[in-house]
Symmetry: C2
């Protein structure tokens, strides 16, 4: 109601409208799976003859086909459904996470067809090593694919701050990277002649959960991704919050305990990630300093469920800090849903009572009327799935041009 | 880059395009003042013959006129400029702030032509009283206006949480209002047959500063409005952050001192507004508990500048908390500018060093590369100006229809 911007106006050329419709139709199939022409007409607000024409063009390009749906159990001849061609078009998606690097071949339609994964040492690893491993995985995945299948895009998720547009890692505290040309270098070594757009892992996790996971249908969504630290992906009015440089959503460095807080990797003190990150939980539970990783976090949460006092105390305390952070975000964003991803899935599982108590205390009643709390439906693959969606962006923007490339 | 939403697509009818262009042209003049046809063509990306036709329609409706610009000092005949007709069209804008109620007649073009103002007691005042005073001011302002001038809209700013669409005050902690039909009741008593849309004061302040103040040209902007508490208006990607219910931007209830913090009016503890609000400053400076208001705040800031130890200590301490809050917001929103409004103009004036120190410590380097800190250019009238803009929304959406009403 209050926004009143002026946007420059120009009539769209028919060709541009057709391209847009083709992309939108393919996106519906890509995200929803097979749909009848009638359903497509309804969802897109177009008449059936337009859908027929668009489908014919996509079929001719080999991007979709029409087929009988699976047995419905109902009498009568079932109407045909349009489905994307998963065997002919794929993307290569990469994920540089805190504890692993992953590469996957992902089909049009979203299925993960094949994947390669390696454990990543926590200590500093240089750009060359990471890119070498990922590019090797990429070559293996391509060799294992049907020779007829075409790679139409590549993209990567990275656990750090990324410059939009060129995949430059501006700040990757965990690997110690500053201003490393990750996307460009990976693209060069893959040698496919395709750019490798890169996104922050929590941003991509948020988009993946919104498109295919626990956030479907929400226009205002907060995704929290826990590992060593806490990343955030925040969707505002349907679009990812970027800010002026694309570096927004840094929920992990929201200071909530400025004077008594734990030191943070960023140099500050009492950041959300310092209070609820992996190390905070493990230290508070009295676990040895060399114990790290998701399994260690899960062990503490399970021990708490089984009544171990130190673990119970740790989970409750970390849950309280998590609740403070989440309550702040609900007051700021009035979201429809907050999704806990990465190791925060486990922490939230063990501390939902503390989180809810903080929301009840700290969030204004009007703002918490309808908010839901959920765990990530895509699990640890949310970031990888988000990278795959980024890889499909060009195809879905202009299907015929990309298919004809 | 990462957003990939599907928007339903439909060709705009020529009539709709024309209406949009008329509104956009009038908005340019309303916000920028007189412009030549050449300048309008350039700004709107339209050719001169289209501008000529649009201007002719608006002239015929009495909304604009063409005239010679003021003496430019350059030789030759100056080209005509198009200007809005300020004497014929106005809105009534209202502002229910913490310490005053204001009504103003605001001309097309944005000039405040006339105003009425009353000091408001801090203690609870009921809906009937507030609406009675404002409606009375509204009648006075109309009587004082040229009988030929037309009121084309009304709108109000309110220091609380407002339901978009019907001007219902969901939560007004300061006046003790919960679910009060403020907009509807003010509309009824004004008797103009016009709805009275209502906006939260900080939301409207943010929009006003973006359109006419310190935030012009910024697409990502944070406006902080201080009085008893701290309100926020946050513009993300050019649009006001609303969230699912329109209740987002509650920066004042971001908890930054959960265990040792001052109690907050909301029932929580250590909220930003509890740490940096008027009472925190006055208490820390050792001022008596019955001293309140902007003048008292200004006195402390001035005393600090003059070296009074208690005042210096108070301003520095409140500035540190303010810096923590601002740093958190910069990490979250990666804005181009942060604007201090209301009494925070004075607090920031006295504590810019503390605020900047916190930003240097707490904000990730990448996120603070380009952010600017400014004080509100519209001063205490930012909220009133925002209400006026809200009042002009209908006219600027469809100028000919509203002018012909």
């Amino acid at each position: 109601m209050l926004t009143s911007r002026t946007t420059p106006e120009s009539r769209r050329a028919p060709e541009e409208i057709r391209r847009h419709h083709l992309g939108a139709l393919l996106r519906h199939l890509h995200l929803s799976g097979p749909l009848s022409r009638a359903k497509l007409a309804e969802r897109m607000g177009l008449n059936r003859s337009t859908i027929l024409a668009l489908t014919a063009e996509l079929t001719a390009a080999g991007l979709v086909r029409e087929e009988r749906p699976r047995e419905t159990g109902r009498a009568g001849r079932p109407s045909l459904v349009v489905r994307p061609e998963p065997d002919r078009w794929y993307v290569l998606a990469f994920d540089v996470a805190v504890d692993r690097v992953v590469a996957a071949r992902v089909a049009l339609g979203g299925a993960i067809l094949d994947r390669r994964e390696a454990v990543r040492p926590r200590a500093g690893v240089d750009l060359e090593t990471v890119v070498g491993v990922l590019a090797g995985f990429g070559r293996e995945l391509r060799r294992a694919a049907d020779p007829q299948a075409r790679c139409v895009g590549t993209a990567a998720s990275y656990c750090g701050m990324i410059r939009p547009g060129d995949g430059m890692v501006r700040y990757g505290p965990d690997l110690g990277w500053v201003d490393q040309a990750f996307g460009a270098e990976l693209g060069r070594q893959l040698g496919l002649g395709l750019p490798v757009p890169v996104g922050n892992e929590a941003h991509l996790g948020a988009l993946a959960e919104q498109q295919r996971g626990a956030g479907t249908g929400f226009q205002n969504l907060i995704y929290l991704h826990g590992d060593v630290g806490v990343g955030g992906g925040i969707i505002v009015g349907g679009g990812l919050l970027g800010g002026d440089g694309g570096y927004g959503c840094e929920v992990g460095h929201m200071v909530i305990n400025p004077y008594d807080g734990r030191p943070c990797l960023c140099g500050s003190r009492g950041c959300l990630e310092a209070e609820v990150g992996e190390r905070a939980l493990l230290d508070t539970a009295g676990r040895p300093a060399d114990l790290i990783g998701h399994d260690a976090v899960r062990e503490v949460v399970t021990a708490a469920e089984n009544g171990e006092p130190a673990a119970r105390e740790a989970v409750a305390r970390i849950g309280d800090w998590l609740g403070i952070g989440v309550a702040n975000l609900i007051n700021l964003f009035n979201p429809g849903v907050v999704i806990f991803g990465g190791m925060l899935r486990d922490v939230y599982r063990g501390s939902a009572a503390q989180v809810r108590a903080r929301i009840a205390t700290n969030v204004l009643p009007v703002s918490r009327e309808r908010v839901q709390l959920r765990t990530a439906a895509l699990g640890y693959d949310a970031t990888l799935v988000g990278a795959a969606e980024l890889g499909f962006a060009d195809l879905l923007a202009d299907p015929l041009a990309v298919a004809a490339r």
